[in-house]
Symmetry: C2
Subunit: 106 residues, 2 copies
């Protein structure tokens, strides 16, 4: 099981709305995330709008590729579009920056 | 089980050394972390020196208070002192900023 941290950014003034959207995540979106093997997925908010995402999955690239092919993910990303701040730093998309794990203790 | 995200900062040029110190964490420090109930503790590095910490624990405040009372933690914090960048934003210490969880999916 791999652990993956990444960072992206939303407009901080939209945080409550972003959180509400996630509190009420579409059941089919939650199912798609689980179906590709993602476990224990958390997102944390910093006051400047930075979001820190943590998730566990066996094969990150494979899971993300599978997820990207689902219709529900395309619709979810369109729904999330208004919250994102594009910063042009990316591996997977313009707004995502992968982090390096420097420590883990089970 | 609660999930806690926090942010602090190290001098980015010292990242490899910081990671090595954590790869070789003192066994008594690892034991102290586990003994206070902390589970699945990860730290991720961003190129600007920001570290994102993720951990799972039943009672964060109680665990941190217990850890702070251990001699080994005092020695570890002294050992880590040279890596930290103090930014003056804090709940638990000058260098720690707690994050708000806005999403979780098991």
């Amino acid at each position: 099981m791999g652990r993956y941290g990444s960072v992206f950014k939303i407009k901080p003034e939209l945080k409550d709305e972003y959180k509400k959207a996630h509190d009420e995540i579409w059941p089919e979106m939650a199912k798609a995330i689980k179906d590709v093997g993602i476990k224990s997925y958390s997102i944390f908010f910093r006051k400047d709008g930075t979001l820190f995402s943590y998730l566990e999955v066996d094969n990150y690239e494979e899971a993300m590729a599978k997820l990207a092919k689902t219709d529900v993910n395309t619709r979810w990303q369109e729904y999330m579009e208004k919250y994102f701040v594009k910063e042009g730093k990316s591996i997977l998309g313009p707004e995502i920056e992968m982090l390096e794990e420097v420590f883990h203790l089970d």
